[in-house]
């Protein structure tokens, strides 16, 4: 058992948990969190693909890809959260009315 196998399995598991959360949960923020877990899981897969037996240096390309993925996911999260906040305001206003 080498680290890449252990963390590869963990990454797939995290992706699966996130996938379940995104499709099965109802709460808006929780579904978003599920998606974030998916992105971390996919990151695990890429980083595991970059890992090499210790004396050898890892492959830098997937690392760069994952950094890009992290920033992209943050952007999407920020947009989704803005929608959640706005929608909540509108619904709260409707409830009061």
């Amino acid at each position: 058992m080498t680290p890449d196998l252990i963390y590869g399995a963990a990454g797939l598991a995290v992706f699966g948990i996130g996938l379940w959360g995104a499709i099965a949960l109802q709460d808006r923020m929780r579904r978003l969190l599920g998606l974030k877990l998916c992105s971390v899981g996919a990151g695990f897969v890429l980083i595991v693909g970059a890992w090499r037996e210790p004396p050898a240096a890892p492959d830098p390309v997937p690392h760069a890809l994952v950094i890009t993925g992290i920033v992209v996911m943050l952007s999407a999260t920020a947009a989704a959260l803005a929608l959640i906040r706005r929608l909540h305001d509108l619904e709260a206003a409707d409830d009061r009315a």
Partner: protein, 322 residues
């Protein structure tokens, strides 16, 4: 020596998976966010173990730190407006039918199991692009391979990544037009003192990360995230209050990185060079120029994403301003 490390890896991987599940299952929304932050930090630790310190830094700062801040801000907003289900201990939302729930779980499990089997059945550890990267490194202008990939070999991707951030802030401003902010939490004098002590240090670390990115882990995104943390503290301490008059400047700062990056990419073309092909000997200068400007844009954009709504001329806000 590898035995304790193996144990460590196993425990860490188990913890990552368990906390991921716990974050989704815990009832209280605040606990959910805290567990998510713990999950992100542990993932970053795992990525350090997988020899990816650059990614670990980015995940800790952006993927966990700033995402956590965004989630907390949203939770504060929702709770300030009062919503059933958001107070701790409130009734759970209407339950999902058992059949649907088990169908979802079964589907997910089947997908993941299929993927796992397919991966196990495939040749692993194929040589990637590390040899090509190593050969091209002397021409790249920097010494950190990840930075070389991000700002030279795959600079086009990175430009588009900055564009994604720009798209996000445009969407956020558009969605939250004219929205009222939830009343800011008052954090007290101790917090103000802490902010005063840490702000300069955070600024130094941010610039250092940007600078170090050329040869060591770090770079524009990590540095930008660090500087954005300063922006968050400025907003939370009230040292900086967004004002409608600042909108034009903010827009300019949002687009600065995109414009500089794209302009350099187009202007270096010609004389037999393609777009994004830096002239020989100028690669380092151009990369540092791009990184510097992109860092400013990233820091400002991330701060604005946290602030959310566009600073519009609202009655309440004008009254607060001196």
């Amino acid at each position: 020596m590898s035995e304790p490390l193996f144990l460590f890896d196993l425990l860490l991987a188990l913890a990552v998976v368990a906390i991921a599940a716990a974050a989704l299952l815990v009832r209280d929304a605040f606990a959910m966010i805290v567990l998510f932050v713990v999950f992100g930090l542990l993932s970053a630790l795992a990525w350090v173990r997988l020899a990816a310190p650059d990614v670990a830094l980015a995940e800790a700062a952006i993927g966990t730190g700033l995402t956590g801040a965004l989630l907390l801000k949203t939770l504060h907003h929702l709770r300030a407006r009062g919503m059933a289900g958001w107070e701790p201990g409130a009734a759970a939302p209407r339950p999902v039918p058992r059949a649907v729930a088990s169908l979802n779980a079964g589907l997910t499990l089947a997908v993941v199991a299929g993927l796992g089997v397919a991966i196990l059945g495939s040749p692993l550890r194929v040589t990637g692009l590390e040899i090509a990267v190593a050969e091209a490194m002397p021409l790249s202008g920097v010494d950190n391979p990840v930075t070389a990939v991000l700002l030279n070999f795959r600079a086009y991707d990175t430009l588009m990544e900055v564009v994604v951030l720009l798209a996000a802030i445009i969407v956020v401003w558009q969605v939250e037009r004219g929205a009222d902010a939830a009343p800011a939490p008052s954090l007290g004098p101790i917090w103000q003192g802490f902010a005063r002590l840490t702000l300069p240090a955070a600024a130094i670390v941010g610039v250092y990360l940007l600078w170090a990115g050329a040869e060591a882990p770090g770079g524009a995104f990590q540095g930008g995230a660090m500087l954005a943390a300063i922006g968050l503290m400025l907003l939370l301490t009230g040292l900086y209050r967004p004002h409608p008059d600042h909108r034009a400047t903010a827009r300019l700062l949002f687009v600065l990185g995109t414009v500089a990056f794209a302009a350099v990419a187009l202007l270096v073309a010609g004389a037999g060079r393609a777009s994004f092909e830096y002239p020989q000997g100028h690669a380092k200068t151009l990369i540092l120029l791009i990184e510097g400007l992109v860092t400013i844009s990233i820091a400002v954009t991330l701060t604005a994403l946290f602030h959310g709504r566009e600073p519009a001329a609202l009655k309440g806000e004008l009254r607060h301003d001196p």
